[in-house]
Amino acid sequence: MLAAQIVVNALVLGCLYACIAIGFSLVWGVLNVINLMHGSFIVLGAYFAWSLYQGFHIAPWYALAIAAPLFFLFGYVIQRLILNRVITAPVLVTLTLTFGLDLILNNAMIYYFKADYRKLILTPPTGSVSIAGAVVPVDRLIATAAALALTGVLYLILRRLRVGRAIVAVRLDRDAAVLMGVDVNSIYAIAFGLGTALAGCAGVLMALIFPISPLTSTAYLGKAFVVCVLGGLGSVSGALAGGILLALIEGVGSAMIGPAHAITLSFMLLIAFLILRPQGLLGRKGFE
């Protein structure tokens, strides 16, 4: 009974972790930029959902449709105007730049929304359902389904659309892609826009579950980082596998050796992966 509950919890949480990480993974994989703004984008998405629900009673699953294009545009503009200027510089330069931009974005949110914790409370509450003896909250199920759908959409974009194939091409070999006529700057901006849109959508879904405050951004960023390393960089299925593995380790670790050590365990696993399997569980050279 307890085992079933822990496994179900981990599967649901794992999909949410994957949703947090997938945009981060895409940007890191394609642009070779470790985007430290990712956590703040997620929090901004959560505030977006909270504001729409408070102001217009628009449920978060509908808010996704509005958040995705807005965040895409936001990311696209940031990349074109700021990041693109240093895109070919060493990774430390872009890391420092996104760190600085994150400070600005995060403090702007603290200034505007205050650091108080908010909670999106759905009325009426969605309640919980029982699956194989395990209780699962419906809002988490909705968020999980949406997270899976988002991952699926990204997978299809990368596999089927011309722009997606161009992203994969740039990821595989930038110079060859240029020779084939791909507008690399445009692809970079689109990839960053997609990453931002995914972060914003993840934030909208997280608003259903977690309290909202600018101070939570580092927790999201940390999870995204671990999931990417565990699952493999720049791969959709890798993010999913990494998310579920992390959630399972945390859940089982929490039950076996206590919740105080669950995070330690996940970071030990991270170190082990970095040493023994740096490409992650499903990491490959490109998006295939």
């Binding site: 822990i6 919890n9 914790y117 209780v135 909250p137 101070l215 859940g251 206590g258 105080a260």
Partner: protein, 405 residues
């Protein structure tokens, strides 16, 4: 022509000296008319919400003093100025900020940085520089048992929060036998949980679960599933607002019900009550002060009611214990300085140590360690979206209710 020019310029240095002298004496006069209080606070970073509360409490006190014409010290009026410094939620920086305030900013008296950990870290400086210091947010007795003479605190030890709560549950909920305790692995929340464990055992409860969760935990579902299988009638969780909201949400998600659910330290804050909504109903908690208290103080604020009124007028919200503690710290300094009739640090320190006075915060008397020992912290329960005081009897507002769904 040239000679006259040279003569007039020859007088310039003298004139300049006079001007500088006048400016210096003017600034010296104005410096004497102001008493500076140093307040290092974590104005940015994760503790920023707490710092803002502290700042509100200090500002309200300073504003009231200055509105009344200032403090009377030895027949002279002094204005109050609070010197703030942001230590970015970083304890080593809090220590640096404290030293800088004492040695470079020329503050007359100090308020400690936020929380037990930072207050303890900075307390050695107060002792070294013989600087009277009041800690308005440090409850752990380890802060005060260092044999220091210049540190005072307005929070009673942690066990004074858990013992009255345990007694109420024992008296009113005979069905409650098993307790599960979940604590944030952090100085204050863990200390409270350990006191709770002691208090529960001393009162005959069986502690079936005691675990810590790491700072920054994003998901408690596995822990809560485990607690659910143990069927405790009392679930006691410590942490800060974020943790407690998350735990409460996930308890509802997993349909975990208990006769009693207690949480420290979130429900004392209006933000928690607002964010928890209906899921907050019947959660019990304890804090060092509550706006429903009815004390008739001798301090600048007078009654608790008047303090709440002044706070509402300035900040358009109800004060909680964090803001009130900051304000009373200022008021206690004021009474000690006025009683000493001087800004001499040793004399003010002695006046603080001899404090025995009623304030809007409650009766204030410091024990031999400097920590307050005269206060009986209120226990309260969220009922109908409001905090209702259950004890002490003198400020009781309602009866204890069983059942958290």
């Amino acid at each position: 022509m040239m000679a006259r020019f040279l003569r007039s310029y020859a007088r310039l240095p003298g004139l300049l000296l006079v001007a500088v002298g006048l400016a210096l004496s003017a600034s010296a006069t104005s410096a004497q008319e102001v008493i500076k209080f140093g307040a290092p606070l974590p104005l940015t970073g994760p503790l920023a919400p707490e710092a803002i509360k502290q700042q509100q409490g200090y500002d309200l006190w300073a504003e009231q003093v200055n509105k009344a014409g200032g403090m009377s010290v030895g027949g002279k009026k002094y204005k109050v100025e609070i010197v703030y410094s942001d230590y970015q939620s970083n304890t080593p920086r809090a220590v640096q900020a404290t030293e800088q305030m004492i040695t470079q900013n020329g503050v007359n008296f100090m308020f400690s940085p936020f929380g037990s950990g930072a207050a303890k870290a900075a307390s050695s400086l107060s002792e070294r520089y013989k600087m009277p210091t009041i800690a308005s947010t440090a409850s752990s007795s380890q802060v005060y048992d260092q044999g220091y003479k210049y540190l005072f605190g307005t929070f009673t030890p942690n066990d004074t929060l858990t013992t009255p709560l345990t007694k109420i549950v024992k008296a009113k909920a005979s069905n409650v036998k098993k307790v599960a305790i979940l604590a944030r692995n952090d100085l204050f929340p863990l200390a409270i949980a350990q006191e709770m464990e002691k208090s529960a055992k001393a009162n005959g409860f069986e502690v079936v679960y005691f675990e810590k969760y790491a700072i920054g935990t994003l998901d408690h579902s596995a822990t809560l599933s485990q607690i659910k299988t143990l069927s405790p009638q009392w679930i006691f969780v410590t942490g800060y607002i974020n943790d407690l909201l998350l735990v409460r949400k996930q308890m509802t998600d997993q349909q975990i019900k208990a006769d009693v659910v207690s949480m420290i330290a979130g429900p004392a804050y209006q933000e928690f009550i607002d964010a928890a909504g209906a899921s907050g109903e019947n959660i019990t908690s304890a804090a060092w002060w509550h706006p429903a208290a009815k004390y008739d103080g001798k301090d600048i604020f007078g009654t608790t009611e008047n303090y709440v009124k002044l706070f509402r007028e300035k900040f358009k919200s109800d004060p909680d214990y964090a803001q009130a503690s900051a304000s009373v710290s200022g008021a206690l300094f004021q009474m000690a300085i006025e009683k000493a009739g001087t800004l001499d640090k040793d004399k003010v320190r002695d006046a603080l140590a001899a404090t025995d006075v009623m304030t809007f915060w409650g009766p204030v008397k410091f024990g031999s360690t400097g920590q307050i020992n005269s206060l009986e912290p209120p226990v309260f329960q969220l009922q109908g979206g409001k905090a209702v005081v259950l004890s002490p009897d003198i400020i009781k507002q309602g009866e204890f209710k069983l059942g958290v769904n």
